[in-house]
């Protein structure tokens, strides 16, 4: 069950424009195990989406490029495959992706049925007949809770939540081993979000795929994920099992900041504690810790030297000087 499906090692991605170089992802390493859900949390510009796009080699051709690191899917390096192999064997078949905005990820002039059919036909290695494929279309639609007779309708005839289900149906049509969901519920209302999340959870049980879930909502992570990463300025600042991240204890100052900035439903707080300042400019990242400028605990050292990753327990790692020093002291004693 716990086989490593996707392994990213030390990934660096840059966007190159005529004027400047944007360092979007800086040394990201992660593992997704089969049948489990990994959550990536972070704010706009943290590099979450860029990381995901790179897994499917969907980075914009002319500007985006991977400048270092490996992405392996089942021990196969994604970037050593040919375009052809990528298209016919990986994209949409072994790995599929759900994009953030259901309104723009469907083709408005194709019926939803034919959009699902298209995916199936493209990956039809067993030469199934048209009838068999159509039957599968009905099956997937029913799976996501849409009556099969609606497959002849167009996207505009569906509500936002229903459209996102169609997008999920397309992604699941070929029973992928890995499902990448990039903010799948951000554009949806809470009640619809609850439906979509519950559905994704059920489907995972049924199909057994691994899910890489990107979100900025800590609530969604707490409900859905087994493991979680917190990203900031293209780096993973904290990673661990869901318990590591959500139980009080040692945390990266940014993670603590994120929790402090959301209003708590259970207790009344007079003021929120925002994280002051802004994320550093990704074209001019500082030498030291990227979070130092906003960090309430920052010292001189933080501004000069970039911290290294510290393991707190088997699964829990933090990228912060406070913890690396603490450990050093302990080991000296």
């Amino acid at each position: 069950m716990d086989e490593i499906l996707l392994k990213i090692e030390d990934l660096f991605i840059e966007y190159q424009t005529e004027l400047e170089t944007v360092r979007a992802v800086n040394g990201v390493s992660l593992e997704v195990k089969s049948g489990r859900t990994l959550g990536i949390v972070g704010e706009t510009g943290a590099g979450k989406t860029t990381t995901c796009l790179s897994i499917l080699r969907l980075l914009p051709d002319r500007t985006g490029r991977v400048t270092g690191g490996n992405i392996c899917f089942r021990d196969k390096n994604i970037y050593s495959l040919s375009e052809e192999e990528m298209r016919t064997q990986i994209c949409g078949e072994k790995i599929s992706m759900i994009f953030q905005d259901p309104m723009t990820s469907l083709n408005p002039v194709m019926t939803v049925g034919s959009q699902i059919y298209e995916a199936l036909k493209y990956h039809n290695h067993e030469n199934k007949t048209r009838e068999e494929l159509e039957r599968r279309v009905d099956e997937v639609l029913e799976l996501v809770g849409i009556p099969a007779e609606r497959k002849t309708e167009y996207p505009h005839q569906f509500s936002g939540g229903m459209k996102q289900r169609v997008v999920i149906a397309i992604a699941l049509a070929c029973e992928p081993e890995l499902l990448i969901a990039d903010e799948p519920t951000t554009a949806l209302d809470v009640t619809v979000q609850a439906q979509v999340l519950a559905m994704m959870r059920d489907l995972q049980k049924k199909v057994g795929s691994a899910i890489l879930l990107i979100t900025h909502d800590l609530g969604v992570v707490a409900q859905m994920c087994d493991d979680a990463l917190v990203m900031y300025a293209g780096e993973i600042v904290e990673s661990g099992s869901i318990e590591d991240i959500f139980t009080p204890g040692s945390h990266h100052p940014y993670t603590m900041g994120l929790f402090g900035a959301i209003p708590d439903l259970d207790s009344a707080v007079d003021r929120l504690t925002p994280i002051e300042g802004l994320m550093p400019d990704p074209t001019k990242l500082p030498d030291g810790c990227y979070f130092a400028d906003r960090c309430p605990y920052a010292e001189e050292l933080c501004k000069q030297i970039h911290p290294t990753r510290t393991s707190l327990s088997g699964t829990h790692t933090i990228l912060c000087h406070r913890f690396s020093e603490g450990l050093k002291e302990v080991s000296h004693e």
Binding site: E43, T44, S159, G160, D189, V190, T191, V192, Q193, A194, Q195, L197, A198, H216, D217, L218, G219, V220, V221, A222, Q223, M224, I242, E243, F246, T247, G257, L258, F259, G260, A261, I262, P263, D264, L265, D266, A268, V269, R271, L272, T273, P274, I275, E276, L278
Partner: protein, 319 residues
């Protein structure tokens, strides 16, 4: 809360939009609410429930179909254009999207100055410049941004421009239409704190429209829950979360994913059934088609809000 002066009162406000075939889309349907001076009324509901339409209709940015809007006891639905212009200086709005609600061709100072120019607030340019600088300071925009253009700024700072512009005419009432939805959580907290500080300093009344329930609880004194154009529950903010009465409110609250592991085992509440069509909706409770407790009488006639507990209003046959 009763001692506070009622600043704005809405009585049976309706806003219907015409659609094809002479039918009517009931965007806001007989809504009643009051906002005391210096307090915040939170308005929550899902997309399409008429929150924004309600906010805009209250400022007469949209003409109400029927009903009354009393601002300091005066019915503004009948006010003439010139009267309305004067009244608008007391009622302002902050829009949802800080990227599209400010003119990209204008500098920060021009944007904030615009309402003062339109309303001929000052006679000399010096006074106006001084006022703009003061406002920028109030909302936490650095002086050096005076001549900056919006594209140079991030979302949080842009939303601060929106706040400064709304404050320019010293309003008493501001409609905040999802002012933090487009922002990241860390920035969102900055803007929420700013809005609350301004309320303390200037005694502003807010109508705070949002779909984010944790935000609305944090900022509101009273909360109104909207469902398909109708207000189905209204009460104090803590009371709503402690003791929700309407089945829809209960489900809405249960659907929020909580950033807390203890809630993990809890099954996410899923509301089944299709949303009632807001075009010429059938009589009765709008939520009846999705309500697990629906009884025949729910579909017979429309239900008014009823005071179930002191200060706690709900519209449901079960109560």
């Amino acid at each position: 809360m009763n001692e506070a002066r009622i600043l704005i009162e809405v009585k049976d406000l309706c806003k219907y939009f015409d659609v094809k075939g002479g039918r009517k889309l009931h965007a806001v349907d007989r809504v009643n609410l009051t906002i005391p001076a210096g307090k915040t009324l939170g308005v929550v509901g899902e997309s399409g429930c008429g929150k924004s339409t309600l906010g805009r209709t209250m400022l007469r940015l949209l003409e109400p179909t029927s009903g009354q809007i009393l601002f300091e006891g005066k019915d503004i639905t009948k006010a003439r254009k010139s009267e309305m212009r004067q009244l608008r200086s007391k009622m302002q709005i902050i829009f949802q999207d800080p990227y599209s609600s400010i003119n990209p061709h204008m500098t920060v100072s021009d944007i904030i100055m615009q309402p003062m120019i339109v309303n001929r607030l000052f006679h000399s340019r010096e006074e106006m410049v001084a006022r703009v600088k003061k406002l920028m300071d109030t909302v936490g925009l650095a002086d050096r941004l005076y001549n900056a253009y919006p594209h140079e700024l991030d979302g949080g700072r842009r939303q601060r421009i929106g706040v400064a512009r709304a404050l320019a005419l010293n309003p008493e009432f501001i409609v905040c239409d999802e002012p933090v939805s487009a922002l990241d959580v860390s920035i969102q907290a900055q803007i929420l704190n700013l809005l609350m500080d301004l309320q303390d300093q200037m005694g502003l009344a807010y109508m705070f429209i949002t779909h984010d329930l944790s935000v609305v609880k944090h900022i509101s004194d009273e909360i109104a829950v909207l469902y398909l154009g109708q207000c189905i529950e209204r009460c104090g903010a803590t009371e709503l979360f402690r003791n929700p009465l309407h089945p829809y409110t209960k489900m809405l609250l249960a659907a929020i994913p909580v950033p807390n592991l203890s809630a993990r085992t809890r099954e996410l509440q899923v509301i089944h059934g299709e949303v009632t069509n807001p075009i010429d909706p059938p009589p009765g409770c709008r939520f009846a088609a999705r309500c697990p407790y629906c009884r025949p009488e729910c579909k017979e006639k429309d239900l008014p809000l009823r005071e179930v507990n002191p200060g706690h209003f709900a519209a449901c046959t079960l109560l």
